[in-house]
Symmetry: C2
Subunit: 341 residues, 2 copies
């Protein structure tokens, strides 16, 4: 991702909501990364207290957190998102320090933000930001989360290319007045797959740090790029049903699943741990059911014959962000304990 | 649930995996509850360190936790589950104190345990438990988790009544030899709905402490029995789409959903907070999408007209156990902070 950003003249401002880790953050520093994205004030605080001083909170302002926002703004270069003039008014009344603001633009995901075509509404916000004594206009920020619903790499490219076109048009409208305007895009599928970054200034992918089964399924990465696995003790075996019961449930993995071509829910791929990594996913084997603490793996007679109670199997999670958030720490193959907020 | 247990001559050994709270545990003590169920050694430890001394861990033994199991067995009356002779052998070799054991019986859920009809396998396990110096046979324990897939209260009753029949037969087979044998059942839907507990000695429901949208949807409770809600700040409003964006996502609620009759995912019901509780669910309003930190509520023009950025709305979670586990604490309407493991 660092090379892709360099090759395309982009600032890589990685989203740290996936790993939420100071140690992993340090790995990014070695690649020259010094500006980051987070999705909550709590995360911003965690990283700000540990040496990160250029942070964008890519989440609509929660005005109930204004005290924390003021504290952060005093300490670091903080960027926040603006989605309405209600927020601008509130910030004018309550913010004690200048913060950078991006206008959240909706290019098709329809989660939050101003639709990219609503230039009157955008003009209105920019004018109000201009008038504000505490808001410094940075540019436009969007997140194409609808790429996660795409059925193919082509569809991801189509979504992304359409977004690029819309954002190019938006940039042209404002570039003369705002020479340093930043166009920032976010989703890991587009950033992984595409090489078209016309008129884009900044990318904010996060999930690529680990990837996961969902990203592999979308075509963002190959399975062997998945860099996090949940280590699950085998606690029961049902030879009749070719099933392995693991200590690994919804409180460890989340309940995110992928519907396979046979309409079965798949809660994760199963791997064997090796000395310094793990195997390819085991053939004919997947996590087919999750309750609070239990997971049930459907497998083959062949794999079952190798497994005994007390063994550890690996699960490549469907959604690494949620799994990491539930587990709250990692262990590397060098036996280093890695923090998570 | 206390009355139901009393009326049917049952021991209520509530499952504490839903609330995982010492303060809420104390509320149970006032009702005379002194024996509990948990689903992990970690939970057993939490409650054992805080005055609970009769705990069943209703999860297959994870042999990698033997050191903790030994510590617990020294401190409290600990019951564990046996699902295979591998586990018995391991415990014979590694357990330093006597523990109570239940044989995990599968009455149709097919998650773990010995199928209720496999009496030879059950005889074999009992014989091995008899020979063991560290295992004390308590009885049979089952969990009808398949009631959660039922489409009606009738279907839950059918599943439950069939289980009762199977367990009665099992009890008759062993009662002469084991006068104090305990037949223990678990799921909240059956325990909530049924009044048939023939030959049952113990019930272990847990979710009923809060209930949730899933239980209401199953018919285990009415909506107004749901006793936990997530307080979510409103961070954006989209009047065009009648949508409210809340700070409340998959890291707060989990990704459990209910598929409604129109094939829409419903991630939670929406309520307004009142002075000492909350309203009925808002008409035509539901949590229709969740990402890591965002939730999107679909609503009506009418409700939208009452809502502004910075307000708090309540979400009645689909699965209260997972939401509580993610949030890690509660606040009561008396403004008491309530712990969660």
């Amino acid at each position: 991702m660092v090379s892709k950003a360099e090759n395309n003249n982009l600032t890589l401002r990685p989203h740290f909501k996936t790993h939420q880790s100071l140690i992993i953050g340090d790995w990014f520093k070695k690649f020259g990364i010094n500006s980051i994205t987070v999705s909550s004030i709590k995360m911003a605080k965690y990283f700000a207290e540990n040496g990160w001083n250029d942070i964008t909170v890519a989440f609509p302002v929660n005005i109930r957190e204004i005290a924390e926002i003021n504290k952060l703004a005093q300490k670091i270069n903080l960027n926040i998102l603006i989605t309405s003039d209600t927020i601008i008014q509130f910030l004018n009344d309550n913010l004690k320090m200048t913060v950078g603001v991006f206008i959240k633009i909706d290019t098709g995901y329809h989660r939050s933000g101003i639709e990219v075509e609503e230039t009157d509404a955008i003009d209105n916000l920019i004018n109000k930001i201009e008038l504000s004594k505490v808001l410094s206009f940075k540019g436009f920020l969007t997140h194409d989360g609808h790429t996660y619903h795409a059925k193919s790499v082509e569809e991801i490219n189509d979504i992304h290319n359409l977004t690029i076109k819309k954002l190019s048009k938006l940039k042209k409208r404002y570039i003369n007045k705002y020479k340093n305007i930043i166009i920032s895009i976010g989703d890991t599928p587009s950033c992984s797959i595409s090489n078209n970054f016309t008129d884009i200034d900044e990318i904010r992918p996060g999930n690529f740090v680990f990837y996961d089964f969902m990203q592999a399924n979308l075509g963002s990465c190959s399975i062997n790029k998945i860099a996090v696995a949940l280590a699950c003790p085998v606690v029961d075996i049902n030879a009749k049903r070719n099933e392995i019961v693991i200590y690994g449930g919804a409180v460890h993995l989340s309940k995110e699943f992928i519907m396979d071509s046979n309409n079965n829910k798949n809660f994760g791929l199963v791997v064997e741990f090796l000395n310094n990594g793990w195997s390819e996913p085991i053939n004919g084997t997947y996590l087919y059911s999750l309750s609070q603490e239990h997971g049930i793996i459907k497998t083959t007679k062949n794999f079952l014959s190798k497994i005994k109670i007390g063994d550890i199997v690996g699960i490549l999670p469907v959604h690494s962000c949620l799994t990491a958030n539930l587990m709250k720490s990692y262990t590397s193959f060098e036996n280093i304990e890695i923090d998570h907020l």
